[in-house]
């Protein structure tokens, strides 16, 4: 057990956990930020995607001890103040989710892509979203959602 100071969604949090605990579980079980989901634990499905300094990362394989002091962690709960990030707006307008479980990860990947590339081509969107599995297969709507969000950026 060790103490870690984390900057999560604009606030400083102190947690005392095992050094090898992945950020995912620190967020979920210790900070009660459960929007970030557990899907596979081996960085294959993307359900656990968060932003570390704006970059989409798989929190399920990222030990908390590797997060350097000052790194800014953003989770779905912190993507926007009022749920109105362009990606969230687009997701609401198009009614993207079915079960909804993977969607936080989808939106975090999509928002990182659009922060980097405001007008991605369809192929660029598909490549960027390839790492996020949606078992309900709402892929058509996720694609449309990213395109719509791109227009709102």
């Amino acid at each position: 057990m060790a103490q870690f100071k984390l900057h999560v969604n604009g606030t400083e949090k102190i947690v005392e956990v095992s050094e090898d605990m992945p950020l995912l579980w620190v967020l979920r079980d210790h900070l009660k930020l459960v929007g970030t989901k557990y899907g596979c634990g081996i960085a294959q499905c993307g359900a656990c995607t968060v932003h570390i300094d704006g970059v989409a990362m798989r929190s399920c394989v990222l030990p908390v001890s590797q997060i350097e002091n000052g790194m800014k962690i953003t989770t779905i709960e912190g993507l926007s103040q009022n749920g109105d990030h362009p990606v969230q707006q687009a997701w609401k307008e198009l009614d993207v989710p079915q079960c909804g479980y993977c969607q936080a990860g989808q939106m975090m990947t999509a928002s990182a892509l659009l922060a980097d590339n405001k007008r991605p081509s369809e192929e660029e969107i598909k490549q960027a979203m390839h790492g996020n599995i949606c078992r309900c297969a709402t892929y058509n709507r996720i694609l449309d959602g990213v395109k719509l969000a791109s227009k709102k950026m």
């Binding site: 057990m1 956990v17 095992s18 090898d20 605990m21 992945p22 579980w25 979920r28 079980d29 210790h30 009660k32 930020l33 459960v34 929007g35 970030t36 989901k37 557990y38 899907g39 596979c40 634990g41 081996i42 294959q44 499905c45 359900a47 989770t75 779905i76 709960e77 749920g83 969230q88 997701w91 609401k92 009614d95 993207v96 989710p97 079915q98 079960c99 909804g100 479980y101 993977c102 969607q103 936080a104 939106m107 598909k126 490549q127 979203m129 390839h130 790492g131 996020n132 599995i133 949606c134 078992r135 309900c136 297969a137 709402t138 892929y139 058509n140 709507r141 996720i142 694609l143």
Partner: protein, 712 residues
């Protein structure tokens, strides 16, 4: 199938004001429940599903069915709100827990929630509306025929005076419940048929707690379990010294042939799980996929199978045939792979248990938990969370029982979680199966058709043997045989038809080729034979199937694909819904890529088009994905894959664009969660044949094109 129902509805005032209406979905089972006489002393446990109207005119509609992503938490209340004649903006939807006194069929399965709820939900809304009208008429001292319900208010048709529902609710609640109410005509619908966003959408996009794994209570511990790694094994002994020495581990103990690991957080329990050293034994055969392949082949050629449908004289037709086509198709076991791994919360106390989590069958779970803990079922409460997928897996609540057992040992509330590996390797799989289909052809005509199913642990059930093409052929036979395995199997989205449709519809393509007929025309012609068939078991409609066939052919420009694009056609009926699909395949670097699927559906009235379309698209892509990539084998009782690195699910780059077209009619709504999935595999197989010249008989199809694929 119409249910003979005699609904009863009860109403009363709530202590805080407001009208409650209860409705029994299949009330004939509950007709002996007495109507309360003194409404002010009403025991609300007598109610079934209900509406609550507040004095300021807002309405709460309670959603009783489990939500697995099929959208019933939105679409079922929409039906109530429609008949209640209340603007959707004034509706608040709440999920109820299991309550067998109030509700029938709190199940998510078989694509039946809307179809079986249709009458009951409309009745709940319409009855409340009529009582509010009567209350207004009484207030104005006029006949009820002189008032109308309009958008949450009752309007005096003569004076145009208005009273909103909140102003009438108390009076309405004291009125006698009308025995019979009239439903709106479809052309009067204001909510049904309009796009309504998922009621949980705002929470989903903000990552608010909704799912089983998000559930938390103070004082809760986290648990996982170790189960036999191979089907057929038992636990002999284990050493938990290392696991117990880990900081944060609370306890490790045996329960049955499993080991529970209880810790202060999920990760610690997962970490400790790997440190337990267990010894497994077996006195059963540890089965492998090769064993299944040969046992299924044996069943296909054996004589002692069960005949489920036998029309005409099939054997004679084959004896007289000029030509016989015979094909055998094979599909593997499949895990469900819900994105949210299995989990459940349980708080077991002396004589009672409280469970919360994602479950498609809360009532079944309640009974089993009660048996396990030797307590009364009424002392077991089950609350349902939103589910991160179901696909059939959450019909089997063994995980909820495990949670209850661990909690009862710990005497603490616990959340029991499967790792992804547990979820994939401890499944209730789609059983491996084979189909042998044969057709006899004489004088250029299809004269006989026989189909034999060999499957692990079970066979096609209900009316499946009577689905298309049953009824279209004079000589027709379906027979089945099964092999009992120790590998657990169960329903997987569109059980049996998920592979059967693919085989039959692919086989049809071969028949069409031999008969030198266009596959679309051949199906239309076959369906002509069904018209006028009076066999009650033939529940599909030849006309409705022909309509979706024509619609899909038209929308896909059937037969006019661009160069390099190859189309495959399928028409199928299941879950009371008629579907036709056209898949378009292109060969890219020697591999078939499914680029587009056109899907035409007749599911009657579409309640919520925006969600229905999503559901249909998802079903198609799910069908494409599993028929292309779903590869899962057993070796000595152990699954070949335990996580998404070794098990390939379809991803965005492989997902076809899906175009969905609904037949517009005013017929009662039918299933939609499953019916678009079964046709997809056949449409892909038929398109791949055109694209590559290769006829595929074994799923997953990609195996025919890839050697030594590390994922296969």
């Amino acid at each position: 199938m119409k249910t003979n129902r005699r609904n009863f509805i009860k109403a009363g005032t709530f202590t805080t004001g407001g009208l409650f209406l209860g409705i029994n979905f299949l009330a004939s089972c509950k007709a002996d429940v007495p109507l309360p006489k003194d409404l002010s002393k009403l025991n609300f446990k007598d109610f079934n599903s209900y509406i609550r109207i507040s004095e300021d005119g807002y309405v709460s509609i309670y959603s009783a069915n489990p939500e697995i992503g099929q959208g019933v938490k939105t679409s079922m209340p929409m039906i109530v709100a429609e008949e209640l004649e209340i603007p959707w903006e004034k509706v608040h939807v709440e999920q109820t827990g299991l309550n067998s006194n109030w509700y029938e069929r709190q199940v998510a399965g078989g694509s039946q929630s809307i179809r079986q709820g249709w009458d009951g939900l409309r009745e709940a809304g319409a009855t409340a509306r009529e009582m509010l009208k009567q209350a207004a008429a009484n207030r104005w001292e006029i006949d009820v025929a002189e008032v109308e319900a309009e958008q949450g208010a009752i309007v005096n048709q003569t004076t145009k005076e208005k009273l909103h529902y909140g102003q009438l609710v108390e009076d309405a609640a004291k009125l006698e419940v009308p025995e019979k109410v009239e439903f709106k005509k479809p052309k009067e619908y204001k909510i049904i048929g309009k796009d309504v966003s998922n009621v949980d959408l705002h929470k989903i996009v903000k990552g608010e707690p909704l799912f089983g794994l998000d559930y938390y209570e103070e004082n809760m511990l986290y648990a996982c379990a170790i189960r036999p790694p191979a089907f057929g094994q038992k636990l002999e002994s284990f050493d938990a010294t290392k696991a117990k020495s880990l900081d944060g581990v609370v306890d490790v103990f045996r329960f049955g042939d499993k080991i529970a690991i209880v810790a202060n957080d999920t990760w610690t329990s997962f970490k400790a799980q790997k440190l337990v050293e267990a010894v497994w034994t077996s006195d059963e055969k540890l089965e492998s996929s090769e064993d299944h392949a040969s046992v299924l082949d044996t069943l296909l050629s054996a004589k002692n199978s069960e005949v489920l449908r036998n029309d005409g004289d099939v054997d004679q037709a084959f004896k007289e045939a000029d030509e016989v086509i015979e094909r055998t198709y094979a599909a593997p076991f499949l895990p469900h792979n819900c994105m949210e791994p299995m989990n459940f919360f349980a708080d077991v106390k002396e004589g009672s248990a409280r469970l919360v989590g994602p479950i498609q069958t809360p009532k079944w779970t309640q009974g089993r938990v009660a048996e396990l803990l030797k307590i009364e079922a009424e002392n077991v409460t089950i609350d349902m969370t939103r589910m991160g997928g179901g696909f059939g897996r959450r019909l089997y609540g063994g995980f909820a029982l495990e949670a209850a057992e661990i909690s009862s040992v710990m005497k603490r509330p616990i959340q029991m979680v499967f790792t992804r590996e547990d979820d994939m390797t401890q499944g209730t799989y789609r059983p491996a199966s084979k189909y042998k289909i044969s057709a006899s052809i004489k004088d250029g005509q299809l004269t006989g058709y026989k189909l034999k199913e060999a499957c692990i642990n079970g066979n096609m059930y209900g009316l499946i043997p009577n689905f298309f093409p049953a009824g279209a052929l004079k000589n027709y036979r379906v027979e089945v045989a099964k092999y009992d395995s120790n590998i657990t199997t169960g329903a997987w989205r569109a059980p049996y038809t998920n592979f059967l449709a693919s085989c039959e519809q692919s086989f049809f393509d071969e028949i069409a080729l031999v008969l030198k007929k266009d596959p679309v025309q051949m199906r239309l012609d076959l369906l002509e034979n069904v018209k006028g068939n009076t066999d009650e078991k033939i529940e599909y409609s030849a006309e409705r199937l022909q309509d979706v066939i024509r619609l899909a052919a038209e929308k896909s420009n059937w037969g006019k694909a661009k160069e390099g694009v190859h189309q495959g056609f399928v028409a199928y009926y299941c879950h009371n819904t008629h579907v036709a699909e056209v898949a378009e395949v292109e060969m890219v670097e020697g591999l078939p890529m499914v680029k587009k699927v056109v899907c035409a559906i007749d599911c009657g009235i579409v309640i919520n088009p925006i969600a229905a379309k999503n559901q249909a698209e998802g079903g198609v892509i799910d069908g494409v994905g599993h028929s292309m990539f779903g590869h899962f084998q057993f070796k000595d009782g152990k699954p070949s894959a335990s996580n998404f690195d070794k098990y390939r699910l379809i991803r965005m780059t492989e997902a076809p664009k899906v175009e969905v077209y609904f037949v517009e009619n005013e017929l009662d709504p039918t299933g939609l969660g499953e019916p678009t999935l079964p046709p997809a595999g056949g449409a892909v197989a038929n398109a791949i044949f055109k694209a590559s010249g290769r006829r595929l008989f074994n799923q997953p199809f990609i195996n025919a094109f890839v050697d030594n694929n590390p994922l296969m």
